[in-house]
Symmetry: C2
């Protein structure tokens, strides 16, 4: 659909309806232009791109090329590009900038974005940068930095439109016009009504203002489904509310019911994406590692804890097998099936934990009704485990012509799978009950637990049956 030589022209109004260029093809073009040192051409191309496109483009480049491209971005949209980048890239770019440049960027950003950038600066630099920015901007950023980054307060911006409860539609429109034209707020969805103490009394949508008689008092148009967000609410719960009620914007209130900010859906979409990526990272044993992390040592150290858990757990297996050394020397066939028993048990455990983690996150598995779920996982696991055990038993029978071995290995497989289904489904539930994030502590932990328990069961059952 998108050709390689497509020339987007972002600022030309007549062409904005066209399809946007593919980042992958742009990436190749710019890469060639950097190699040929055609910096003017790059500058021209960047002028035609949306800030988010430039950020996406940059994310595929190494550190050096990222810097080159950022320096060629038109000055007036550098702050918009910066805010779209990953945190580690933002840090790299900020380190190269003068304090004056950083100050300019903070002043151009919305309060929530400015606070996010300021949070990345090291202390002496941050204070000096903030001191040099305009009084109002500085106060806003310092105020927002006071909230927990992962709470509603950390997500909200301070830019919004408020009127007294007794204002008319006409006055509300005047307030919107001021916010739009003087303050530069583009995405206004509500005008909020507050009392003298800034307590939130209600909101009216822009759509209702458009259709209403201009002399009506706004409180008659109060939007009845207005959902508010407490400023201390965890960002995951904020995202759940946005999803549940299909919100595009919501007011944030403090303990006293005062309006302190607003959150918009674009920030929530990022939260949902980040939380899902974080869960995948933890389940895969990479934790907080960013995809773009360039420091090999940092990447290694973020992954090492999972490997060490696995190492320590499997060391127990080493000693367990060693305990059976004499038995194994006489009955070496027992060793043949160690990997398959462990692997199938590991898979069943991960399957159960994956589905339980998803259900706990979505609320489909209520926390006080978990026994039923564990039972279901055991049933599903046992059913599949029995099929695999039968298949394995048959293979062993035709291979070795010994029913006793078939039965010993098959029976172990079924027992091991049942235990795996129980630990796989119970562990995330127990973590959730003790207020921990199931996704963070499952993954490799469940595999290694099942490996150790599974091997112990297997060695016990097979030696009991075969040494009779």
């Amino acid at each position: 659909m998108e050709s390689e030589d497509y020339k987007p022209d972002y600022k030309d109004k007549s062409s904005t309806l066209q399809d946007r260029p593919s980042i992958d093809s742009l990436h190749r073009i710019i890469e060639d232009q950097i190699a040929d040192e055609k910096f003017d051409e790059i500058r021209e191309t960047l002028k035609t791109l949306h800030p988010a496109e430039i950020a996406d483009l940059m994310s595929g480049f190494g550190a050096l090329k990222k810097n080159i491209v950022f320096d060629l971005v038109p000055r007036e949209i550098q702050h918009e590009v910066l805010i779209e980048l990953e945190e580690s890239d933002q840090e790299d770019l900020l380190e190269r900038m003068s304090e004056e440049e950083i100050g300019d960027i903070l002043e151009n950003l919305d309060s929530d974005d400015a606070a996010d950038v300021a949070a990345l600066l090291d202390e002496p630099v941050r204070s000096r940068v903030l001191e040099s920015t305009a009084d109002e901007d500085r106060k806003e950023v310092e105020h927002l930095l006071g909230y927990d980054e992962e709470s509603a307060g950390g997500l909200m911006s301070l830019e919004m439109v408020t009127v007294p409860d007794h204002a008319s539609v006409n006055e509300a429109i005047k307030a919107v016009r001021y916010a739009r034209e003087k303050v530069g707020i583009d995405d206004i969805h509500y005008v909020y009504m507050v009392d003298d103490d800034l307590r939130l009394l209600g909101g009216v949508t822009i759509l209702d203002l458009l259709l209403a008689d201009r002399n009506r008092p706004v409180h008659e148009l109060k939007y009845k489904d207005l959902i508010t967000i407490p400023s201390g609410l965890d960002q995951e719960e904020v995202a759940q509310r946005f999803q549940r009620y299909d919100l595009i914007s919501a007011p944030v209130v403090n303990d006293k019911g005062q309006l302190v900010g607003r959150i918009t859906i674009d920030d929530i979409v990022d939260v949902i994406q980040d939380e899902a990526q974080e869960d995948i990272g933890y389940l895969g044993g990479t934790g907080e590692e960013e995809v773009g992390e360039r420091n090999i040592l940092k990447a290694s150290s973020l992954r090492l804890p999972w490997l060490l858990v696995s190492f320590v757990g499997e060391l127990m297996n080493v000693f367990l097998i060693a305990r059976y050394e004499m038995t194994l020397a006489n009955l070496i066939i027992i060793a043949f099936f160690i990997p398959i028993i462990i692997a199938v048990a590991g898979n069943v455990g991960i399957q159960s934990s994956t589905i339980v983690i998803r259900g706990l996150a979505s609320g489909e598995i209520p926390l006080h009704h978990t026994f039923r779920r564990v039972l279901r996982e055991v049933l599903v696991g046992t059913l599949n485990g029995t099929i695999i055990a039968l298949a394995l038993g048959i293979v062993i029978f035709f291979w070795k012509q010994e029913v006793r071995i078939s039965i010993a290995v098959g029976a172990s497989m079924i027992c091991v799978v049942i235990i795996a289904a129980i630990t796989g489904s119970l562990t995330p539930i127990l973590l959730k009950k003790t207020k921990q994030d199931p996704a963070h502590a499952c993954g490799p932990f469940i595999t290694v637990t099942n490996d150790v328990i599974g091997l112990a069961i297997y060695m016990f059952i097979t030696t009991s049956i075969l040494l009779q």
Copy 2:
């Protein structure tokens, strides 16, 4: 924050600013009321809830209680509750309804939701239900059913506001009023301008209409950053555009540039959530299984393929170890380290594949620049593998006082980990290059591949060194 006896009152305007009730506490209250057959009380409670809250509440109940609650939902919001439920629950409820009831629900829903529900009906029922619904509604649903469910066309709704290019602001507001008051569209963000052939010429935001002089022609207010979505675009790419450009609503156009519908952010949030859950499901080896799947056989059959892959792969390991039977009988110590070698290799492989899958999905790893990434994964894997190998070598040395065994096992560990990092990072890249979804085909496949290759390397290296 939310007490157990909290009484929400959704329809009472004065209380809408209050915090919403906790689904978990409601769940317990309703459960007790069902047990006590206090159906009138349940009906009263449901009246005070938002449809999405009722759906969330229902998702935690078993089949029977789901039905009881749904029957007690006020008739006029049943369609809104239905559309918020999981597909499998929707199917169950639809099966119990009369064709007339289903017809009523379709007529009350927005076109995109009505098409989603109609898609769940079996053919003879669907035709009969559609025949009995109003002509216009039927045509809309049939038109939308023609689009691929996972494309932009499958996501869009047909409800939108359009005016000719030469219309005035006043005329545009009239069109908005008609859409709001007669058609019942609540979430209007843009008025779209079209020519006589319905080709999209531009859009103007509700905010711009509010602030503009009522006699100006709308084309002067054209929103310059309007991003359009081709109707055939895959839903994952649609979601990427919404994220990249921070959209809350976007027009969908066909090949001829005609406006055919619009997509709103609430549907995109669901897509992002679903795609992430799907990836987690595939990585964990549960595939398309829904958390709420009540059919044990279906759940088992969805998980079985992953277990069979593991079974077949590990069967190769059984025969591999059997080939070394004589060696093992003499050098039983080799068997001790089989589980730890396999487990660490498996972990390293999953770590590499997890981070590469994330990077490919986000575009941070450009597809034509993958060698660098594989190299990085090998470096990170080798670094960690060497640390683990050293630790293991030291443990073996102090335990067995035999340097040769330490060296043989440690060296195998390093080799196995390097191979695991290569397969873990290369497999998702190759899948992506052959246009397959990396998340769908990785997970258990990578583990089993690494198990087989890892064990072969381990047996070869240890026997080579120790049998000299």
